[in-house]
């Protein structure tokens, strides 16, 4: 499930109900803008995914409950 896709679908359903072509354009625009801007985090994500065993990382990140 992709939430961004669902948001788009909701918007299609609520805007015109007849498949307004403008809303497809909106999603494409969202993805296009997102691609260029979110690319800033790609390297950090690649390092995170490659750097260590994720299950180990999560196991060691356990915290004491706080306030």
């Amino acid at each position: 499930m992709r939430f961004l896709q669902r948001l788009h679908d909701e918007q299609v359903n609520s805007s015109s109900g007849d498949g307004d072509p403008g809303t497809d354009g909106l999603l494409l625009q969202l993805r296009s803008e997102g691609d260029s801007l979110l690319a800033a985090g790609d390297e950090a994500i690649r390092r995170a995914l490659a750097g260590s065993n994720s299950e180990d990382f999560l196991r060691t990140s356990r915290q004491q409950g706080g306030q």
Partner: protein
């Protein structure tokens, strides 16, 4: 922008704000029974300079006077922790106040906790918060310098470990005692109005989280890190059965004010997530300042009250598509965006009448930004919301992009939870920092403004004199520090030590405008304390004193912004 204190009275106070924020800290890759928070937090705190200094442990000072000074959990007679006497309290270890900006740092249940200096302006809060993160980041780098690559300390600016443990990101607002009593003791619709507003505000302040905790129904992604952990509407506790509205009553305005009806109260807000993006950081404080002003004035619109706030919080948080509707007490069903928008409209209606003038600095700018982001959500323009600095949207986009780019990853993949955590990593691997430096999110305060609050206290609150006194005190002479007092060890007759406690009950007193001249002219430290005590500002916390302080408020704020 310009404000004038035309409507100040004893029933209405400037919205002073502080914050005490716990961090996630552990040693990456090291598995140990009970976790590594104990070692990580102490190694980090040892890298943060502050006063008082003690040499009785490797974090210099792990004693506090929390117990010794009569602090009683959640009791009105209780009093906040200070940092000098001798009792051990796991919730207040090694507290030291910073000479740089007047804030403080300590260890609370193995979490490093950062406390911001008191500010009045919401934009100053954002700058002071990011200034404190800079201080913490430098401490993290120093702590890791001597550690092997296999045992590096990791710091997460979040509120949940994804394994059922939560830690707080608290705000503190000065409000009138009358308003505090109305919320908790006299008028239940005031409490419900505030709780419903806080819930609606997760739209702007949530950091986002993969999964659910604390026995809540499973969900791939939710808006709030903390929502799963709130179980009741109100109460004084913070570590279990957490309440949406916290009733802890500690004034931090002098020990003699408990029975003074004109003395202000402190509203301890434990509800919100930690924020990294500037938008979310601002919207934790600015809208609360406005809503609390409405509460003080008695402008409480009961139409906006949720029928079942706890259910609504869960439902709203667990639906990032923002389609879920929750019932108000009149039966109306509103989405999260619609409820937040209704509160915004309420604030705008009263703003047009001038009620925030002189109480909430820059309220027009706060409202304009607030309206802009709510409109983004109303149009389902999430990219615009992300660019406005809303953490949960940024994180959601990052995670869905990761799943698009890496085949085989889905919401249950541990790698996705790692990305959730690393969004808030304080270190160079932090995803938020990558987005900030890449220009994805709008910065609401300048790097210079942040740098100012890294190295300087706010000019318009008592934090200024606190920091200056700590800088001027002789080595070894600071015995204890609390928000409203500093006790110095002085040299007495025949060199016998004597102790002198300097009181700063009024949080709006002892500003730079009040005290700069005294600091510039006094010859020695004793004379300096004498002169400060002789000055009429701030020593006594009364409604009149607060009014006098506020009448100079705009001037003080101008000083702080000019300095940036």
């Amino acid at each position: 922008m310009s404000t004038h204190p035309a409507n100040l009275s004893a029933d209405l106070l400037p919205r002073l704000c502080g914050a005490d924020i716990e961090l996630g800290n552990f040693i990456a890759g090291v598995v140990r029974a009970g976790g590594t928070g104990y070692e990580a937090s102490r190694a980090l705190l040892a890298e943060i300079d502050g006063l008082p200094i003690r040499h009785d442990s490797y974090v210099n000072n792990w004693w506090s006077s929390a117990a010794a000074s009569g602090y009683q959990y959640g009791k009105q007679s209780g009093y906040g922790a200070s940092s000098g006497a001798y009792a051990y309290d796991y919730q207040d270890v090694g507290r030291r106040f910073l000479l740089s900006n007047g804030g403080c740092a300590y260890i609370d249940l193995d979490h490093v906790e950062l406390c911001l200096p008191e500010v009045i302006n919401a934009f100053d809060h954002v700058a002071a918060w990011h200034g404190m993160l800079r201080i913490m980041r430098a401490a993290l780098h120093r702590a890791n310098q001597s550690r092997s690559p296999n045992s590096r300390i990791q710091v997460l600016v979040n509120n949940s470990d994804g394994q059922g443990n939560s830690y707080g990101s608290h705000l503190n607002f000065m409000i009138t005692r009358r308003a505090f009593d109305n919320i908790f003791l006299r008028k239940s619709h005031y409490l419900s109005f505030l709780a419903s507003f806080q819930i609606s505000n997760i739209l702007l302040t949530g950091q986002g989280k993969v999964g659910a905790e604390n026995g809540r129904p499973s969900t791939p992604y939710q808006i709030s890190q903390r929502a799963d952990f709130f179980e009741i509407i109100q109460g004084p506790q913070t570590t279990f059965k957490r309440p949406i509205v916290n009733a802890r009553d500690e004034t931090l305005c002098g020990r003699g004010v408990a029975d003074d009806p004109s003395a202000p109260a402190r509203l301890h807000v434990i509800f919100f997530d930690s924020a990294l993006a500037h938008g979310s950081a601002l919207f934790r404080v600015g809208p609360m300042q406005l809503i609390l002003t409405l509460l003080e004035l008695g402008h409480v619109n009961s139409r906006l009250i949720l029928d079942d706030p706890l259910d609504a919080l869960q439902s709203y948080s667990h639906d990032p598509t923002l389609q879920t509707r929750a019932a108000l007490i009149n039966g109306e069903l509103l989405t999260l965006v619609e409820l937040q928008s209704a509160y915004l409209e309420e604030v705008k209606r009263y703003a047009a009448q001038g009620v925030f003038t002189g109480i909430v600095p820059d309220y027009e700018e706060i409202i304009a930004l607030w309206e802009g982001v709510v409109n983004n959500f109303a149009k389902q323009d999430l990219m615009a919301a992300a660019r406005s600095g809303i953490d949960w949207v940024l994180k959601l986009m990052a995670i869905e992009r990761s799943m698009d780019q890496h085949a085989g990853l889905d919401w249950d993949s541990p790698e996705i939870k790692v990305i959730d955590h690393l969004y808030s990593s304080l270190d160079d691997d932090g995803l938020y920092w990558a987005y900030e430096s890449g220009g994805l999110t709008r910065q609401l305060v300048t790097p210079e403004h942040i740098a100012y609050f890294t190295d300087n206290p706010p000019a318009d609150t008592r934090a200024w004199t606190r920091a200056m006194l700590l800088r001027r005190a002789a080595h070894g002479s600071v015995f204890s520090v609390d928000w409203d007092t500093i006790t110095f060890k002085m040299r007495g007759r025949y060199n016998w030590p004597t102790y002198r406690t300097f009181n700063m009950a009024n949080p709006l007193g002892y500003t730079q405008a009040d005290a700069q001249e005294i600091f510039d002219s006094s010859l020695d430290f004793t004379e300096l304390l004498d002169a400060l005590e002789a000055d009429s500002c701030g020593a006594t916390l009364t409604a009149d004193a607060l009014t006098t302080r506020q009448q100079q408020g705009e001037e003080h704020h101008a000083l702080s912004t000019t300095a940036t």
